[in-house]
């Protein structure tokens, strides 16, 4: 197992290098620079600023400098948030997104899996229709609408949960619910189709004909086998959720890292753009590796190749 993890970690290095290089090139192609401001600065001052951040050097030299820093784990400096490094920014924002994302993932699973399971085993009934209507709403209604509705109902009308801010456990509930709506709906639909497919298998009929109880068959055998495609999507889903959501953080004033995926680009904060992209890449690689390991636990016939 450890050798597999080690090999995967090694193979991640060229992937991350390619990601960093492509992002480095792309951010510099985009028109507009980090120091294009509302109030134009005199060229002499722009020259001072560019010299400070080595942006006056040829692009190839900037790239080498960036890679040298990156090799030491230094993601660079923020041009927007002067006096703060990208490492500082992500270190303070990521734990918040992680906390919110994990809670969102928890909600997505506890709502999504039961809804999908009920819809599948009650296929064609009113339960199926209700669950799948809920799932369709969860997928099709934009996050900002769900967030606004939750704020209105629980924050302003019933006043049982905080409208926004990030002060206590209570403050996490509405943003986590908002964050989980779409993934929960997606998981519900996926669970339904996966269970329906599994229910058609011969071995299910065999198990039932041998006298195994209905619920016992569903929980012990059907659900376990149906989980394989669900676990597959849980990898990237987790990566997306724990790296934050711009919309949810924006609506609920959550100090997470999701906002930087958007604001770093609009600010042309070059190092921060590359930093957020790399962090997302690393998390995606890690979650995918965890998913691969989970496969072997769900189905011992599956072997991971390093």
């Amino acid at each position: 197992m450890f050798s597999i993890v080690f090999k995967r970690a090694l193979s991640a290095i060229p992937v991350l290098w390619i990601v960093a290089t492509l992002t480095f090139i792309m951010v510099r192609i985009v028109p507009g620079g980090p120091f294009d401001m509302d109030k134009a600065l005199p060229p002499e001052i722009v020259a001072n600023i560019k010299a400070k951040y080595h942006l006056d050097k040829p692009l190839s030299q900037q790239y080498v400098l960036y890679l040298q820093r990156l090799a030491k784990g230094d993601l660079g400096v923020s041009y927007k948030y002067a006096n703060r490094t990208v490492n500082d920014i992500l270190t303070s924002a990521f734990p918040v997104s992680l906390e919110l994302g994990l809670l969102g993932l928890f909600f997505a699973i506890i709502f999504g899996l039961p809804l999908g399971t009920i819809a599948a085993i009650k296929r064609g009934t009113a339960w199926d229709a209700i669950c799948m209507t809920g799932a369709t709403i969860g997928i099709s209604v934009p996050t900002f609408v769900i967030g606004a509705l939750l704020i209105f109902v629980f924050g302003l009308w019933l006043r049982i949960l905080p409208v926004a801010l990030w002060e206590s456990g209570q403050h996490m509930i509405l943003p986590a619910l908002t964050l989980s709506a779409s993934p929960a709906a997606y998981l519900a639909r996926l669970t339904r189709s996966s269970i329906l497919e599994t229910l058609e298998r011969d071995w299910v009929r065999t198990a039932r004909s041998k006298g195994l109880g209905y619920w016992s068959t569903i929980i012990k055998h059907v659900l376990r086998n149906a989980l394989i495609p669900i676990v597959t999507v849980l990898g990237p889903l987790t990566a997306i959720l724990i790296t934050g959501s711009f919309v949810v953080e924006f609506i609920f004033a959550v100090p997470g890292m999701g906002r930087f995926f958007i604001t770093a680009v609009s600010n042309r904060d070059y190092d921060l753009i590359i930093g957020t992209t790399l962090v997302f890449g690393i998390i995606l690689i890690v979650t995918n590796m965890i998913v691969d390991i989970a496969y072997t636990l769900l189905d011992p016939r599956i072997k991971i190749e390093g």
């Binding site: 294009d36 002499e44 001052i45 302003l156 926004a164 801010l165 004033a253």
Partner: protein, 529 residues
């Protein structure tokens, strides 16, 4: 039936619990001696030599104070300097500092703190974006651009602990205003050298203003505490919580829920501004931020000043408050009302008939033959509304069609600065309460002059006004310049002045807004009575 009864009872209990919870929350309306506001975004830096944005300055101007300070009527009053003298030639300022101004760590503020700060902002290694505010000082430009390395030759000298002498290259009537703005605040060399880039962290930062930096949770909240050493006396508000809530609707909901005590445009969605315009908590203030349509005078058809004036005269500015709904003030002149040099007749009046005549004289009778024109604006809802209204008016009043093009903010800025299209929308907010901050923009060498309007006579008048001490003479000069810019040459068509819209809870007293949109909280009091 029993099941139904159980369900009904459970539902009633839940509803009761919710209502009780609602009542409990509703009772908690304010926090004692605490003011809660929203600054919307993370301040990019609290180092006032590096920051350039209003969010950072909102924080800095409450923890720091300069040689002088603005009152809410924008008069420039003594602060760290109790008095100053200006030499007869208008080039030497001698500031006499108060002896009782202390830094938050108890040390006395001395003239050397200003000398050090001004040396640091002008040091090319600091790469301070707003270093140019001090370019009026003798040799400041040369030092900042690296052509002079000896700071002793720059016109700033701490003669003794409480006397600072500043020598200017040329007389600059507006210079005293610059001593009240953030880039000119003093700094502590020992603190900056000790903590390096971390000197603005809570616990490290040493300031001399009414509040101290108590806590800074990045991207979320800044907490300031009243400074017991503040020379004007400790502020009445003990804690100032500055939240960073980017979404207007969320911030407004928090205000409605009594979780914010004061909100402004940053927290005030347009429909709510309109709905609350009669509320006793609502106030509206005009700002010194002028919005305009710029013409690239080097691109046809705007090479002809008759065309520019015709476009300007065909826009009915009264429509902008109706579509933007923040009680904006229609604007016809570049120098706004209330400022030295303002004259209502410096700008063109709305006169479609006259505009049509001018257009015909320029060779486009009833808009015939008018070339294809692109109008650029930033991708923003308010800008879109404004430009669609302008497009509509040009069609109706001049039979001229223009194409609207919007670009993402940074792309828009890059396009304007490199090769501005024939027409564009832009705006400018005053840095200090002097007409210089407006008039200078359209001088030939100013980097913010995107119109390519280069008029030696205009430049001469503006530079002369800047160096003139007599207010009446200055007013006449700026009036002449403004008339030239908006009417005679019509390089721009001013359209409206922005406003600040606020809501203040009844228990908050003493909040004042000024046209520069600087928010000072040192005189605020929380009192439920």
């Amino acid at each position: 039936m029993l099941k139904l009864q159980i369900r009904t009872t459970l539902l009633s209990l839940i509803v009761l619990a919710l209502l009780t919870s609602a009542c409990t929350r509703a009772d908690k309306r304010y926090e004692a001696n605490t003011l809660r506001i929203n600054i919307a975004n993370e301040p990019p830096s609290l180092d006032w030599h590096v920051s350039t944005d209003s969010t950072s300055f909102d924080v800095v101007s409450n923890v720091m104070i300069g040689l002088t300070q603005y009152k809410n009527d924008l008069s420039c009053a003594p602060a760290c300097a109790e008095r100053w003298e200006i030499s007869k030639d208008g080039k030497t300022y001698t500031f006499h500092l108060r002896h009782d101004v202390k830094w938050s760590d108890g040390k006395n503020l001395i003239a050397r703190d200003f000398e050090y700060a001004w040396r640091r902002i002008l040091d090319p290694a600091t790469a301070a974006p707003y270093a140019f505010f001090l370019y009026d000082i003798e040799n400041a430009y040369e030092y900042n651009t690296g052509t002079l390395n000896d700071f002793a030759k720059v016109g700033v000298k701490a003669v003794d602990n409480y006397t600072l002498v500043v020598k200017l290259k040329n007389p600059a009537s507006y210079f005293i205003n610059l001593t009240a703005i953030c880039p000119s605040y003093p700094q502590r060399q020992d603190i900056i050298e000790k903590f390096g880039n971390r000197w603005t962290d809570a616990g490290n930062m040493v300031t001399n203003g009414p509040f101290l930096l108590k806590d800074w949770m990045h991207e979320y909240k800044i907490e300031l505490a009243a400074n017991p050493n503040f020379f004007e006396g400790k502020p009445k508000v003990e804690i100032l919580k500055m939240f960073m809530i980017p979404e207007q609707a969320t911030a407004f909901a928090l205000y409605e829920n009594d979780q914010l005590d004061f909100i402004d445009n940053r927290s005030f969605p347009t429909p709510d501004v309109y709905d609350n315009r009669n509320s006793p908590e609502y106030r509206n203030f005009p700002l010194l931020r002028n919005n305009y349509i710029g013409f690239n005078v080097t691109k046809k058809p705007f090479t002809d000043k008759r065309v520019r004036l015709a476009v300007s005269m065909s826009i009915d500015r009264r429509i902008f408050p109706r579509i933007l709904r923040r009680q904006e003030t229609p604007s016809y002149t570049w120098i706004p009302p209330g400022m030295l040099g303002y004259a209502a007749d410096s700008g063109p009046e709305f006169n479609p008939a006259e505009a049509q005549k001018l257009l015909a004289q320029a060779g486009y009778p009833k808009g015939k033959g008018f070339p294809s024109v692109s109008v650029l604006y930033p991708s923003r809802e308010d800008a879109r509304l404004v430009m669609e209204a302008v497009q509509d008016q040009l069609k109706r009043n001049l039979n001229v069609h223009v194409d609207l093009v919007n670009q993402e903010w940074k792309v828009y800025l890059r396009t304007l600065r490199r090769d501005a299209p024939p027409m564009f929308r832009s705006s400018w907010g005053a840095d200090y309460p002097d007409p210089e901050t407006f008039a200078n923009i359209f001088t030939s060498r100013n980097g913010n002059n995107d119109t390519a309007f280069k008029n030696p006579e205009y430049d001469r008048i503006v530079y002369q006004a800047a160096g003139t001490a007599t207010p009446e003479v200055r007013a006449a000069l700026y009036k002449k310049a403004d008339h030239m810019l908006c009417k005679e040459q019509a390089a721009i068509a001013c359209i409206y002045l922005a406003t600040q819209n606020t809501m203040t809870k009844p228990w908050v007293h003493g909040i004042g807004i000024n046209p520069l949109d600087l928010q000072f909280f040192k005189d605020v009091k929380i009192d439920p009575q």
